[in-house]
């Protein structure tokens, strides 16, 4: 659980995105693309789910954007520090097979989460079109890594500071209008995944999303992460985190994910973070 390597990938005055390589030989052996781990920074900390972005013999790579107290505390850890807890791999792995032509859409830190899937799908001879979106150039991550596994790469920034001005969904609309694709895979903020699913549905293309519902134990014990998929209630931690984007009840998920917003603000202020 020791941090072996730390690198700040992106930084603005508001937030940072950090890459941590953590010693975890057993998890590294078992983790598959699409799976996640649960991390605690201290005994008093929250249990937070993070995607296993990459792995090698004895380490796993985690990428974390500092948004709340726990992610800020995680970003403050240095090489040599140990996590208080690290458990996984959790959740279903992504279904890695030959689909044909796949569009992967990553928004913000969601880019980190599409990377292992993109890499694995490329390994199965899929044609990979990747759309990366960031608020601004300074927050764009893993451009080179994804370029290496993509046949096509489109970058968008909200403010036009790099790539195309606009949103990933604009680029998606355009790609789908030009060519035929077999699968859309998207990870990012809920409004993005919602819109991606909506657009892909118009083109009648299967869409997989990886949800970031709020979790506690992440092992099927609490139901905090429950989402409505079609008419069924599913637990993101064990039934997901991937679901059919066309069937997810996005409005409900968006509301449920805001449930502790005021407390998050309060605690960050209190800890001056």
């Amino acid at each position: 659980m020791k941090i072996l390597n730390k690198e700040i990938l992106a930084q603005t005055p508001d937030t940072r995105i950090t890459r941590l390589k953590v010693h975890a030989p057993l998890i590294a052996k078992k983790a598959l693309p699409g799976q996640f781990v649960v991390v605690m920074v201290s005994e008093a900390g929250e249990r937070i789910p993070l995607t296993v972005v990459d792995k090698d013999k004895d380490k796993i790579t985690l990428i974390v954007q500092e948004v709340g107290l726990s992610t800020k505390l995680l970003g403050k850890l240095n090489v040599g520090d140990s996590l208080y807890a690290l458990v996984g791999p959790m959740g279903h792995p992504a279904e890695i097979k030959k689909y044909g032509k796949v569009i992967l859409v990553g928004g913000g830190v969601g880019i980190a989460e599409i990377y292992p899937v993109a890499k694995a799908l490329k390994g199965k001879d899929n044609y990979i079109a990747t759309i990366l979106g960031a608020k601004t150039k300074a927050l764009l991550i893993l451009q080179n890594e994804l370029k290496a596994v993509s046949d096509e790469l489109v970058i968008t920034t909200d403010d036009g500071s790099y790539g195309r001005r606009g949103f990933t969904t604009d680029a998606l609309q355009e790609l789908l209008g030009k060519n035929e694709y077999d699968l859309v895979y998207a990870v990012g903020p809920i409004p993005m995944m919602k819109k991606v699913s909506f657009i892909a549905k118009e083109f009648n293309i299967k869409t997989i999303v990886s949800l970031n519902a709020i979790m506690v134990d992440a092992s099927c014990m609490c139901g905090s992460c429950r989402v409505r998929v079609k008419d069924e209630v599913k637990f993101s931690c064990v039934d997901g985190p991937e679901f059919d984007g066309h069937l997810v009840n996005w409005d409900e998920l968006e509301k449920r994910n805001n449930i502790y917003k005021d407390k998050e603000k309060r605690i960050c202020k209190l800890y001056k973070l």
Partner: protein
């Protein structure tokens, strides 16, 4: 004239609901001696059969009367590794006290006159804890070379580990959460089971040589086959019934509708009652509804009320149960404590729907009144909803405590592990062995939701079968 049962000291309701400190203080030595003296020392004691692990109740109570507390401790410990836990959380009125000869037959909760066996057990356990009494390990050449894996560190897993470790078998407990204890840690609140007591009993296992691996999710990180390949001779599964049931009614996913498991886990395991010192948040409503009638519902209601007080909110927690108080599966003592603390009860109510606002937060519950009908398979009268009796009640938080299902994480990851229609693991009732050879199971993953001591009873049985297997080898 028969002597009255000795009442145990409890913190005043107003005082105790302001914190998470233990409510029941336990007997003093004097009270213990008085209560023990009430025991008739029956020639053919009926109490022992009521104990799922068969503690020699008659003997340890006699030893108390002789002030031989060391002896009493060792007597209990022969069959129960966790007297300080069981003495606090056992529903004695359904077990040993129920079968005590002083219990009047017929009336459902007539153990008022029975010996308070659990309080005596608690005294003895706490005495052993205070005096660091150590149970010796029976060394057996054949067994000490063997290694057994225990999956899950709840009551069943801890008990199985203790039983085997005492025979000198090397035990490794794999726990998926960051702290051991299972439901004793995430479910049962500190005001019923103080964490120092739990930690002490777990440390006792460590002193026996048991190794505990937290943050280890068997089924994901390692399969059962891999554990066998690493030299474990047998595996015990104490996975628990950790998956919450929901009502399956409309509106159940509105914000601030919690499962009792989530609510209690946030508070008990993650320390949300100490937010922001602890970082896991929990929302505390002004008007909290709890649905259910078991111990978990009582715990959730009492935790909710304490959270309201700690957060400067006027206590307002109402518990809804679809039958009447008589059918409630919760311990009588917990129901009494909940009432004393100001939890309101509404019986014969069946929730139909939660109604929310535009932001997705729960605002009201719609429910039906019920009446009691014929006996059902549980031997209790079935609640029958009354047509047209709909009513609505305002709320800003609801906690669903209607039961738990078997945790499926390991089961789904393991081929050939046979389960029944409830997804519980199927075992040979004599040995607790599952459909996979050398894999045993016990606790809630086998029988569905039960008590701590019932889980221990199954674990004990499994441990005996494991010892037999290892000795035969």
């Amino acid at each position: 004239m028969k002597k009255e049962p000795i009442k145990v000291k409890e913190t005043e309701p107003l005082q105790r609901t302001a914190n998470f400190s233990e409510v029941v203080s336990g007997y003093t030595e004097g009270q213990t001696l008085k209560e023990a003296a009430r025991c008739l020392q029956c020639k053919n004691p009926t109490c022992i059969a009521g104990c799922p692990v068969g503690v020699d109740i008659k003997k340890f109570i006699f030893q108390i009367t002789q002030k031989d507390y060391d002896g009493a401790y060792f007597t209990v410990r022969e069959t129960n590794d966790f007297p300080s836990i069981c003495g606090r959380v056992c529903p004695a009125e359904y077990q040993c006290s129920k079968t005590c000869v002083l219990t009047k037959k017929g009336s459902p909760f007539a153990s008022e006159r029975a010996i308070n066996i659990h309080f005596l057990e608690r005294f003895v356990g706490d005495y052993g804890m205070k005096h660091n009494l150590e149970v010796s390990i029976q060394k057996n050449e054949r067994l000490t070379k063997q290694k057994v894996a225990v999956v899950g560190s709840g009551p069943a897993g801890l008990c199985c580990a203790g039983e085997l470790a005492r025979r000198g078998i090397k035990i490794v407990i794999f726990e998926s959460l960051h702290k051991p204890g299972g439901v004793l840690r995430y479910g049962i609140p500190p005001f019923r089971l103080p964490r120092d007591v739990l930690d002490f009993e777990i440390n006792y296992l460590k002193n026996l040589g048991v190794e505990i691996m937290p943050n280890f999710i068997v089924g994901k990180l390692k399969s059962l086959d891999e554990l066998f390949a690493e030299g474990f001779q047998a595996i015990f599964l104490g996975l628990g019934a950790g998956t919450p049931s929901f009502l399956g009614i409309s509106g159940e996913n509105f914000c601030n509708v919690y499962s009792a498991n989530e609510f209690l886990t946030r508070v008990n395991l993650m320390g949300a009652y100490k937010f922001p010192e602890f970082h896991t948040p929990i929302n505390v409503g002004k008007n909290i509804l709890v649905i259910g009638g078991g111990n978990t519902a009582m715990d959730a209601a009492r935790v909710a009320l304490r959270l309201q007080k700690i957060n400067g909110i006027r206590p307002n927690v109402t518990l809804f149960y679809r039958r009447t108080e008589n059918e409630m599966p919760a311990r009588r003592m917990e129901i009494e404590h909940a009432k004393e603390e100001g939890i309101k009860f509404q019986f014969l109510v069946k929730p139909e729907e939660f109604i929310g606002d535009n932001e997705g937060y729960v605002k009201r519950m719609r429910a039906l009144r019920c009446k009691l009908g014929e006996l059902d398979s549980s031997g209790r009268r079935r609640p029958l909803p009354i047509k047209g009796s709909d009513f609505e009640i305002d709320c800003d938080e609801a906690i669903i405590a209607i039961g738990l299902l078997a945790n499926q994480v390991l089961v789904k990851a393991t081929q050939n592990l046979k389960t029944d229609k409830y997804s519980d693991i199927v075992v040979n009732p004599e040995t607790m062995e599952t459909s996979i050879k050398r894999v045993y199971a016990g606790g809630d993953i086998v029988g569905g939701e039960g008590t701590v001591i019932e889980a221990m009873g199954m674990a004990k049985k499994a441990s005996q079968a494991i010892v037999e297997y290892l000795s035969r080898k």
